[in-house]
């Protein structure tokens, strides 16, 4: 489903106090293959390049070197609009900070990915509404459809985030610390939801996390250190 070849990401930043510009290598020659339906957790200390790797695998950024093949498409060959379309069609996201659009209700937040789907796959307006309501019901928010993010608790916001992530029936779902902002009990609930929906729909899951509960339920754990893969652990 995902093949990363020799992924390298460097950032150049202005030197402080008159020093010369410095180049920072965040990822250094990462090779990784993730199979369809697989649950992969990326672990590593702060600054090891986890989020950068996630961004590159999802096509949110272009690598300095190397390439990613996502759902059969080489991201290097795609321009900005094409990568956006690929994300809209095949990819879902769950974020640590939930990232709900504050001016949209819970229902509208879930509707957004359905509206972004390619025309040939996009459901009708009525069908989209039914799907969104169904997903919100599935995550236990059937009575919170018209609430705005500010009116929801952290756990509820993340449930909306998960409903939104699954709305377009993605082939791959990327999650960046999905339980990082939640207490243990709510985090466990969210993890259950994530795996439940994953197993029902056969979605490939790529998760950046420190949550041991999530790590324990992954098929493989990729350990990153200083921008390189230190080791890959198979859990199942």
């Amino acid at each position: 489903m995902i093949v990363a070849r020799h992924l390298t990401q460097r950032y150049t930043r202005a030197g402080t106090r008159g020093a010369a510009r410095e180049t920072l290598t965040v990822l250094d020659g990462v090779d990784l293959e993730i199979r369809s339906g697989e649950v992969v957790v990326i672990l590593g200390p702060s600054g090891s390049g986890k989020t950068t790797l996630l961004g590159l695998l999802a096509g949110l950024d272009r690598p300095s070197e190397g390439d990613v093949e996502l759902a059969g498409s080489s991201l290097a060959q795609l321009d900005e609009d094409a990568r956006a379309s690929l994300r809209a069609d095949r990819v879902g996201f769950v974020f640590q900070g939930f990232h709900l659009v504050p001016t949209l209700s819970a229902l509208e937040n879930v509707l957004v990915p359905l509206e972004l789907m390619p025309a040939e796959r996009a459901p009708s307006r009525e069908a989209a509404d039914t799907i969104a309501r169904g997903l919100l019901g599935r995550v236990g928010l059937a009575d919170r459809l018209h609430h705005y993010p500010a009116q929801l608790s952290g756990g509820e916001q993340q449930r909306v985030g998960i409903a939104r992530a699954f709305a377009n029936q993605p082939l791959v779902l990327f999650a960046d610390e999905p339980t990082g902002n939640l207490d243990r009990a709510t985090g466990a609930e969210i993890a259950d939801l994530l795996f439940e929906l994953n197993s029902q729909r056969g979605t490939t899951l790529v998760i950046v996390t420190h949550d041991l509960e999530l790590t324990r339920r992954a098929h493989r754990v990729v350990h990153l250190a200083a921008g390189r893969i230190a080791r890959i652990e198979s859990c199942v």
């Binding site: 989020t51 996630l54 961004g55 999802a58 949110l60 950024d61 900005e80 609009d81 956006a84 379309s85 690929l86 994300r87 809209a88 069609d89 990819v91 879902g92 996201f93 974020f95 990232h99 709900l100 659009v101 504050p102 001016t103 949209l104 509208e108 509707l111 957004v112 990915p113 509206e115 972004l116 996009a122 500010a150 009116q151 939104r164 377009n168 960046d176």
Partner: protein, 852 residues
């Protein structure tokens, strides 16, 4: 760039839901400017339409010709073709200035006498009080009709006797409205209508009297223009001034158009300010939207989608602001004819034409989109990775190019709008440059002061004062847009006031206690001694006197006047200088109000009668208009005789001084023997004594006109006051826009400030402390805006007075301080009232981040 219509439409619909709350005030900023521009546009359109529709009634004929000389045999050939086409016999009018004395009240005044022979007017009507009285014009011997303004000034009633020249007449009716005059003109020079027969009885017209002869024609369509076109040069040579419907329309529209165009620039300033408000609002909006847009981008929205959603939002905002502007303009349309009362050539009722509505909407949309484009492009450039890393910024180099392109588009928009409004490239470009520079200066001054506060914070102040002042330069402050908005509004109002004060002061400059205030014209040589005695009897003395000889230019530097006028490329000033009739004088020494700037005065008594060419002295500006200097030869035509002169010196004249000032001075020997009249100046402090003197002049010296200068100055003051009110009313719209921006900016920062306030509450700050911090911030912001705007206005007013009006600048410091304080107080009050002083929710809710 890919755009998904369905998604964009759905998102746009959702964004619009909260737009009224978020952009309401910013839209109001734009709407105020739009309403002013549209209203003035509607006023100009209405006046033009009315002038076009009613030009025959306004002129009273299809053609009016006028000449200082009676139409005689030499003009017969020229006038024959047009007389042959006349549908009715032409009406002849003799016009002259004369004194009128109301016998009952004893009041007198210089009036504009119109003696009519024939039907008048040929179109339209003379409206009188009592109504329809003018229908009896000419049937009642010794009956006169006078402007109602004169009836008030002389305390006249219908049936009263009025003395003109050596005869007494009966006032038949007051003239409310008659062709050829409007508004203030009637107050400055009120008219008296009488028959030609009655004028002959007065004995006022003698050889050499200053009289204008007019003829009014009723003609078939286009006949007047064709005749004018075919005979322009001959008419020019014969010194016959022609007014056709077309030229009259043009003259009226041009005069009024000029005023509305300048006032329109004030409206445009309000619109520009509104645009700044929208730009500031959009920037704040973009700041809030970065994360949401990054999220949309990460789940598949393209930059095109983002651009389309927010571009659509700005379009809708522009449309809504335009619609609001239309609503706001409705009461303005009702008020404008009242504000402009006395300045309008015709009565108008204002309404918005579909074209004006469309223009307003388009202008609003264009201004909004142009101002929002920069922030929207920033949004479109938000990288999707920002959803994972909030510190991740755009790496696109194209943004720089985009910013430059937007700056060019915005600057060009301002330039084109200014040129369109002023209908002059020079004035429009000057205004645009001035406005942009002013805004830049205001912005830079505000930034500099903010830097200063940041670098050298006032350490000795109390915590709340320091906190309030520090808020001005904290992240996400609204200091810059507010300072620019309020500062600019103050700048416009204070600049207008300073310029007005300086120019008005110059009009009434002669503040000497003994400055002359009575002017006696058309005094014949043999009347001088008698008048001197009369003036002395009233306890006054003659302060200045000068002989006057009427003349025209025949040639300048060897080139015939007609030949020079035939050149269509010559400047307006030069044309005026060549065409005008000159009142020459003679004396052998420069006067106190004159200063020689080039050449030298002739030696007194050394110029003899036969020393042709005579040395003459020219006023320096006139010399510049005519393109002559010391040593150039000029030939004058004085009562049919050509006299050659050479420019001996150039003089600078203090025209503001109440004295007998002249453009051209001859040596005594040259003109002493020429037919001439005199002008005498006297000072008489008591108003009653002045009125008595005027009465006696009317009775004893009927041909002499005695003008009370204070009355004229009062009329001028009143006219300038009217214009001043119109300007000030429009300037207030800039202040309203500035305050709307302040409120909008304050509300935009409310959420952020509410968080801060909650945090301070958690840390132990009392509600009263929070209130003091908010007030300190509002006061500091108001002071910043007032200082920056006040100083900028002094600089701008000084430039305008020096460069445009060419007058010395004397800042009205007391008034400016008052205006600055008013702006400061208003800003502090509005800012304080809209600031967050005490959070409504409990501190613990704030900590949970649940501020709605």
């Amino acid at each position: 760039m890919r755009v998904r219509g369905r998604f964009v439409a759905a998102m746009l619909r959702r964004e619009l839901r909260g737009a009224v709350r978020r952009f309401g005030f910013y839209g109001a900023c734009m709407a105020i400017g739009i309403s002013v521009v549209m209203s003035l546009h509607a006023l100009r359109e209405a006046v033009n339409d009315a002038v076009e529709l009613r030009s025959k009634e306004l002129l009273g004929a299809d053609l009016r010709i006028e000449s200082r000389d009676a139409f005689g045999l030499e003009d017969a050939d020229l006038l024959a073709p047009i007389e042959a086409q006349a549908l009715t016999p032409p009406t002849q009018v003799t016009r002259l200035g004369s004194m009128a004395l109301a016998e009952r009240s004893g009041r007198s005044r210089l009036v504009d006498l119109l003696a009519i022979d024939g039907d008048y007017p040929l179109y339209g009507a003379v409206f009188t009080d009592p109504p329809h009285a003018f229908e009896s014009f000419g049937r009642r011997p010794r009956g006169v009709f006078i402007d109602t303004s004169l009836m008030i000034q002389l305390d006249l009633r219908v049936g009263d006797a009025i003395r003109i020249g050596s005869e007494s007449f009966e006032v038949v009716a007051g003239v409310v409205k008659a062709p050829g005059r409007f508004g203030f003109q009637a107050e400055v020079a009120p008219r008296v209508f009488m028959t030609k027969r009655d004028l002959d009885r007065t004995g006022l017209v003698t050889l050499g009297s200053l009289v204008t002869h007019l003829r009014y024609f009723k003609l078939p369509d286009k006949a007047a223009d064709a005749w004018l076109e075919a005979n322009e040069d001959r008419l020019e040579a014969a010194r016959i001034r022609v007014q056709t419907l077309a030229t009259y329309q043009e003259e009226l529209s041009e005069a009024f158009g000029l005023l509305t165009r300048y006032l329109g620039l004030v409206g445009l300033a309000a619109l520009l300010l509104g645009s700044i408000g929208v730009a500031a609002g959009m920037r704040a909006f973009v700041h809030e939207k970065l994360d949401a847009v990054a999220l949309l981008r990460s789940i598949g929205a393209t930059p095109g989608d983002v651009l389309a959603i927010h571009g659509g939002l700005s379009l809708a905002l522009g449309l809504a602001a335009g619609a609001l502007g239309i609503l706001v303009s409705l009461p303005i349309l009702k008020a404008l004819p009242v504000v402009f009362r006395g300045l309008l050539p015709v009565d108008v009722t204002l309404s918005l034409s579909p074209a004006a509505v469309a223009t307003g909407l388009l202008l609003s949309i264009w201004a909004t989109v142009a101002c929002a484009l920069g922030p929207i492009l920033d949004l479109a450039a938000v990288p999707p990775l920002r959803a994972l890393r909030s510190d991740f910024g755009s790496r696109s180099e194209r943004r720089k190019v985009g910013r430059i392109a937007i700056a060019v588009v915005v600057s060009l928009s301002i330039l084109l709008a200014s040129i369109g409004q002023a209908r002059s490239v020079r004035i429009g470009a000057g205004f645009a440059a001035g406005t942009l520079v002013s805004i830049a200066v205001l912005g830079l001054a505000a930034l500099a002061l903010m830097q200063l506060l940041q670098r050298y914070p006032p350490k000795r102040l109390a915590f709340w004062a320091r906190q309030g002042i520090a808020n001005l330069s904290r992240p996400r402050n609204h200091t810059l847009p507010t300072t620019i908005a309020i500062g600019f509004a103050l700048f416009v109002i204070a600049t207008v006031h300073s310029v007005e004060q300086n120019v008005l002061e110059k009009l009434a400059v002669d503040a000497r206690p003994d400055r002359p205030n009575i002017v006696l014209f058309d005094v014949q040589r043999d009347q001088e001694a008698g008048l001197e005695e009369l003036i002395a009897r009233h306890g006054a003395r003659i302060t200045d006197r000068a002989p006057i000889v009427a003349a025209r230019l025949a040639s300048v530097a060897g080139v015939e006047r007609a030949q020079q006028l035939a050149d269509e490329t010559i400047s307006r000033d030069r044309r005026w200088a060549l065409q005008r009739e000159y009142q020459l004088t003679y004396h052998d020494r420069p006067r106190d109000s004159e200063e020689i700037v080039a050449g030298a005065w002739w030696v007194p008594g050394q110029v003899a009668v036969d020393d042709v060419p005579y040395p003459i002295s020219l006023e320096d500006d006139l010399a510049e208009s005519l393109g002559v200097g010391v040593g150039d030869v000029m030939t004058w035509q004085i009562q049919g005789v050509e006299i050659e002169t050479v420019v001996a010196n150039l003089r600078h004249v203090d025209w503001g001084r109440m004295a007998t000032n002249f453009f051209v001075v001859f040596p005594t020997a040259a003109l002493e023997a020429a037919p001439q009249s005199r002008v005498l100046l006297a000072h008489l402090a008591d108003e009653e004594a002045r009125a008595a003197l005027q009465r006696e002049v009317v009775v004893g010296f009927p041909n002499v006109s005695a003008l009370d200068a204070t009355l004229i100055l009062r009329s001028l003051d009143s006219m300038f006051e009217q214009i001043g009110i119109a300007v000030r009313v429009l300037s207030l719209f800039t202040l309203a826009t500035g305050l709307a921006i302040l409120v909008a900016a304050s509300l935009a920062a409310r959420r952020e400030r509410a968080r801060e306030a909650l945090l301070l509450r958690v840390l132990g700050a009392s509600r009263s402390l929070l209130r003091r911090i908010a007030v300190a911030e509002a006061v500091a912001l108001a002071a910043l805006a007032a200082i920056v705007g006040g100083l900028a206005s002094v600089a701008a007013a000084a430039c305008l007075v020096w460069l445009v009006f060419e007058l010395p600048f004397d800042p009205p410091l007391f008034d400016l301080a008052g205006l600055a304080f008013a702006a400061f107080a208003l800003t502090a009050i509005v800012g304080g009232a809209t600031a967050v002083t005490a959070p409504a929710r409990s501190p613990i809710e704030g900590l949970r981040g649940e501020i709605g």
